[in-house]
Structures are given as C-alpha cells and as structure tokens.
Symmetry: C2
DNA sequence: TTGTCCATGTTCAGAATTGTACAGCGGGCT
DNA sequence: AGCCCGCTGTACAATTCTGAACATGGACAA
C-alpha cells in the first residue's frame, strides 16, 4: 500500500483501545480525528474495518486480517524510535516549563514520576504569570489560563480546574448555610489579585467583605487555610489531597480555570520538548477527576 | 516511534530515488513536499538523514541505520495492500475518463499498457468538451485545459501540450520562409472552433486568410494533413509519432494547452478511481518529452 | 427516577500542509 | 559559448486536516 502509512497507526490504536476516545488519548489526537482517519482508511481500502457496537469498536474479519501486518509495521517503527534515540543527543537536555504556582505545585508533585518516563530529560518547573519568557525562550513550555494571540504560539487544552470551599479539619464549622459561612473568617487574595479564581465570587458571597487573611499566591492561601486560619476557595487538586483540609459543599460551578499548554511552533518538533508535552498532556488526562474535584 | 509513520515512507522514497524530483514522482506528490517532509522527519529524529551532494541526496550513516526497519514497514504495508485487494470489490469496476479527442486518442494509444497495470479495472475513454458529465457522474475523471471553479472538483496538473506545424511527407515544401508557408494550402478548424489551439495564431500567420480545408476536431485535421491536403498546426503528441508527417520548424512557443486531470473530491478516495488517476499521472510524466515536442 | 459521566457525531474556525509557479544554478550537448 | 534540461529552493494561494465546542444518547449509581 503506497498510500498514507499513518492511517494504519490510527487503525491499530482503535483496534486496541476499542473506543475513539481511548484511541485518541493513546495517539495524542482528538476523537473526531480518529473517527475521520479510520473512515478515510476504510474508504481507501474499500472494506469496513470495524463494527460499531453500542459501547465499542470491534474489528471486522477484514480488520482482523490487517492487524498482523500493521503490528509488524509498529514493531519496525518502534525499532526506528529506539535507533533514533541513539542517533540524537536532542532527546536529552533540559526543558523549562513555566506554570502558575498551584499548577506548578501539581506538576512538581508528579515530577518524580514524570522523570521516570522522561529519562534523559531534565525539566525545570518555575512559577510565573507572564508570557514574556516564552518569547524570550526563558521557558520552553507554559501552562496558562488563556491562549495569547501571539505569532508562532500554538496551544493545546489540558483541561479545566475546579474550585471549592475548604476548611481545616481543626476549624469547627457547625452551620453550613451561606449566611453562617459568610460570617466566618476567610483566607483570600489581596486587592492586587482580585482577578484570581474565586475572589470575585467570594466578595459577592460575603456581601463585599474582604477576606480577613490575605495573600498573593495559592500556596500561601493553602498554608493558611490548612492551619485553620479561615475558610478558603482553593483549587480542588491542591486541597482535596490534603488530609488536614475538608471540603465544605460541592464544587463551585461558577469558579473554574482552563489550563492551556503553550509552546512555540518551532520548538514543538524537538524530541525533548515533544516528550515533555506528551507527558504533561497524559498527566492532565489521567488526573482529570482530581483536577475537576471528582476524586 | 509513535509519530507520523508516513514520513518514513517519504524518507524511503528519497533514499531510493536520490533526488527530490524522482522521489516526488514515485510518491505522487510535489518535490517541495518531499523536501519539507524529510526536513520534519530529521527534526523529529534529531539527526540528519541525508547528505546533499551537488547532484543527489545520499543517506548519512544515521539514515542508513533506519533503512532496514523502514523497508520492513514497507513490506508490511505492501502485504496490507495485497490483502486489501482481496477484501474489497471496489478495486475492480469501471472508471470513465473523458478527454478532448486528441488527448483521448493519446490515452487510447496507451490503453493496452494501462490495462496491464490496472488489471481488474475497465475504463472507458470518451471524447467530450463539456463539464456536465463530471457533475452528473457521466464520467469519473476529466482531462481538461482549464480548472473549473466548481464546488467539489479537485484538479491535478498533468502537463502542457506543445504544438508545431506539420506537413505530409508527400507534400513538397521547398521554402520554409513564413511567406512561402503562408501561401501554401492549410488544414484548420472551422469558424465555430477558432478558440482551438493554434487557430488564432494561424489566422495571424496568414494575414487573416482562413484554412482551405476546415474541420471540427483534431482527428479530422490530422487525417487531412497526413494525406497531404495541406499544412496544419497539430499537437506534437499526435503528429510526431506519425511516420507520414514531418515537422516544419520548431515548437510554436505561443501555442500550447495545459492538461488538468479533474475529479470529484468524493470519488478520489475510491481505489479504482485512485488507481486510474495514478496511472494517467504516471503516463503524462513518462511521456512528457513527446507531449512537449521534444522526442 | 434523576443526575452524572462517558462516548460518539457534527460543525466551524484556525492551523497545517500541499501544489503551482517561478527563479536560479549546474551540467551536458551542440 | 550558448542553449536547454533537470534539479532545488522559495513564496504564496488553495486545500486539507485538526481540535474545540456542543449536542445527544446510553449506562450506571444514588
């Protein structure tokens, strides 16, 4: 077959994963892409390769016939991959990832695990709010809440962070009516950071009263909240794993933060940058329940 | 390597062909595409795969290392191709190709050869000037001189036909000055077909005098010219192979006809249509000297 | 029964890729 | 020496592909 070999890679992933979504995750593409690519392949081959059952895709007998050869292609491709690692010294090196503190903390929490996968790659995780360092190559990758309209930047959506109210287990909260909660002491951002998630919500919730303990980053807020200084709106991924905190009520629907992975177009093809991107994307996919407050 | 397998197919073609142009022809893509795809692969792998000598591309030792595995991928892909032929009944069937008479004659001349390559595919070559039959599915493929701006039609340039003055070997042409030639009898299109190639050139060449023998298609003109009825402007691919004709002077620079292969977007993916397209494209590439009057 | 979660299908805007056309260079032939 | 042909590189317009977003449906748990 002298047509596109890459559609066979998609075919194999769907045969193994059984669903468009699972295949898409394994391939690092979107589920509509998997669907379209398989449809194109079926049209080119002139045979249906999958039966669509209610809950999964199953290879037809035609599809089964092609699996062995496609797996042979995969073996050869993997051999090329391993040989490539030996050919190049760009698979090692340093990748700098910049994220806002709470997200940086999340990444840092999994850094040992990421390193076990990324082997020769060292990466630095730094806290930063600005974009300047992507253009000036002070960071290779950024995680941000909006996509800047800058030339040469490409964005990939990682997911959405959820927020909820948390209290220290040591802080007695007898009544959880809004009025009762509003009357308690709170931890929050200072006036220079009112745009941070949950702060405008909190001001409205408390009828305009500012938090009694104020800081300028999530880690400060987290520390204050967990030691009983007051209630706080915190990102779920930060607070739910903390045994000293407990959630008060559910996820706040109006408070969330999208997370976008930003990279300069030219860097994306570098193997070490690509590897870190893939690892970060996989991490956000796997930890999606935690990020969305559903763990 | 879980990246695009298809870049390896391009890599292999260039390793074998040695030039971007040769690889492009083998792959059915353009030479800038081959260049870009190899550059992307080199960037992803992080190693140079080819040395660029003055007259050819030669694999580096890194490139050599990847060749065996890439050939293994190709073997598996070819096995898939063969199995696909067995799976599908759409590789056989009929493909209708419509072209203007002279081009239809060209295709017909090679039809036995084309059939030997296309095996289970039967194709019909019909003479037609119109587009209606592509939209009404009266033809699957068209060869035309312009690309219509119609929804859903995609075009691929086949090449350019050259034209020259021809005389029958039996027709004495003692002097070849423009004046002497203009004074001789000529074969040409009738007044309804003055837009055909070479006709407005001929009118100007003869100071407005119409051809003495007039017809409404190339085959009529060809037949009249070859039997000595008069001089004619004919497409080189039609006249050069005819032993009864000889060229008078060179290719006429101002007289040419681009040939575009037109197909409906949806049909292009069908294996039998794709196969005929590829065969026609290859035919025009191989016969380019004949078409351009350089054989 | 209702709500939540996961999956697929569809649409559209944006990004990526491709082919055409052209320029320039080198080699070979006349 | 000049011309022609083949090749590569580049620019730009057109085409193709992709992902985000949203709607819908089904399954499962409370």
């Amino acid at each position: 077959m002298d047509k596109n070999w890459d559609d066979l890679r998609i075919f194999l992933a769907l045969a193994r994963g059984g669903t468009l979504t699972t295949a898409a995750k394994a391939l690092g593409v979107s589920h509509p892409t998997v669907s379209r690519r398989v449809q194109v392949l079926e049209k080119q081959i002139g045979a249906r390769l999958f039966d669509r059952l209610p809950d999964r895709f199953v290879p037809t007998s035609a599809g089964e016939e092609l699996l062995a050869d496609t797996e042979a292609m995969e073996k050869a491709a993997q051999s090329i991959h391993r040989r490539s690692a030996g050919l190049s010294d760009t698979v090692s090196g340093t990748v700098r990832l910049s994220a806002e503190e709470a997200t940086a903390a999340l990444i840092a929490r999994y850094s040992a695990e990421l390193r076990s996968k990324l082997q020769q790659i060292e990466f630095e995780v730094v806290s930063s709010h600005t974009l300047a360092n992507l253009s000036r190559r002070e960071a290779d990758l950024l995680i941000r809440e909006q996509v800047p309209e800058l030339h040469g930047i490409v964005a990939r959506k990682l997911g959405r962070l959820a927020y909820a109210i948390y209290a220290a287990r040591s802080l007695p909260v007898k009544k959880t009516t809004p009025a009762a909660l509003a009357a308690l002491p709170w931890v929050g951002f200072d006036d220079d950071h009112l745009r941070m998630q949950g702060q405008s919500w909190l001001l409205e919730f408390r009828g305009g009263r500012r938090p009694e303990i104020r800081g300028n980053n999530w880690l400060v807020l987290h520390e204050a909240a967990r030691t009983g200084a007051g209630l706080a709106v915190l990102p779920c991924h930060l607070a739910d794993p903390d045994p000293m905190l407990r959630r008060v009520g559910g996820v706040i629907p109006d408070v969330f933060a999208d997370q976008w992975l930003l990279v300069h177009r030219d860097l994306r093809a570098l193997p070490r940058v690509r590897a870190v991107m893939d690892a970060v994307i996989a991490l956000f996919q796997r930890e999606r329940p935690l990020l969305e407050g559903r763990s």
